[in-house]
Amino acid sequence: MTWGVVVFPGANCDRDCVHVLRAVLGADVAEVWHADRSLDGIDALVLPGGFSYGDYLRSGAVAATAAVMPAVRAFAASGGPVLGICNGFQILTEARLLPGVLMRNRSLRFQCHPVWVRVESTATPFTAGLRLGDVLEMPIAHGEGAYLAPPETLDALEAAGRVVFRYCDARGRVVASANPNGSAAAIAGVANAAGTVVGLMPHPERASEALLGSADGRRLFESAAAWLAARRPATSGAAR
C-alpha cells in the first residue's frame, strides 16, 4: 500500500510523518504537493501538522482552499482513509470534511507536552486495530486545539460513536485536569459519518518510537495499514 502525505506550504510535520511511515512502518510513501490535483495510487492519506500558509486567518482556513483539496474530498468520498493530525485536523474542519472547530486553547497559549487519550471508537481505519478504552500517550503541540461544535452536533457525534479520542489521565479517567485545552466533552479526535476521515490534535507520529518516550501513536498507522489490507487484495493501489 502507499501512503500519501500532503505537503502544504508551512506544514512542518510532513517530514516527520514520512519518516514514521517509511522508516518505522516500512511503508511506501508519496509526498503530495499542495498544488497537485490527483491522488492516483494513494491508498491512505495524512494531512500533517504545522502552520499551513502561516495559519494567519484561522488555522487551516487557507489550506482548505488549496488546489489539492478537491482531490482530497473525492478521495474521502470514495471511502479512502484520511488522517488529519493537529493542523491537518484543523484543515479538515475548515474544509468541512469533519464537523466542529478548533478554537484557541483555554490557556490562550501554545502548549507542548504529552497527553493521554482514550480510544472511544474502533469504527475507523485508524482505531480498528485498537480496543475501546485503550489509553495512548502522545504529545500535543498546538495553540488552537479546543474542540467546539454546536450542542446538537456534539450530541449527534456522541450518539453515532464518532468521538474517536478523548483526553484522559494516565489511567484512562476522563477528568477535567486531563483536558489540556478546554475541548468540549474532552474531545481530542472525531471521525466523519463513514468513520474513514479522522482528525485529532495529538501527534501520533511523535509517539511512534520508544526512544521518543512513547510508541503508542504508531498503532494508529498500523491499524490503518491492516484495515486496508483486509479490505482489498494485497495487490491494491488501483486508481480510484
Binding site: L57, R58, G100, V101, M103, L148, A149
Partner: protein, 79 residues
C-alpha cells in the same frame, strides 16, 4: 478601487477567551472596563464587479459561520 471593511466577531455565547484576557489586562492596568469582545477586521480592495459577492467570501472563507458573525461596511463608511 472601492474598499470594503469586513468585521468578524464571535457569536454571542461562544467563549471569547481573548476578549476575557483583554478585559483582565485592562483591569489590571487600572481601567474598570465592564466588557470586552475581540474580533477581526479585514479591509478588502474589491473590484466593483465583486462587490456583491463579499458576503459569500465571508461565508466561505473570511469567517467560520459555525462560531462567527460578520458585517460588511460600505466603501463610503471606510475613511
Amino acid at each position: 478601487m472601492p474598499t470594503v471593511r469586513v468585521t468578524v466577531m464571535l457569536k454571542p455565547g461562544v467563549l471569547d477567551a481573548p476578549g476575557q484576557a483583554i478585559l483582565a489586562g485592562l483591569r489590571a492596568l487600572g481601567y474598570p472596563v465592564e466588557g470586552a469582545r475581540v474580533g477581526k477586521v479585514v479591509e478588502l480592495a474589491v473590484p466593483e464587479a465583486l462587490r456583491a459577492r463579499v458576503d459569500e467570501m465571508c461565508e466561505r472563507f473570511l469567517a467560520n459561520p459555525l462560531i462567527e458573525t460578520w458585517t460588511v461596511e460600505e466603501p463610503e463608511a471606510v475613511r
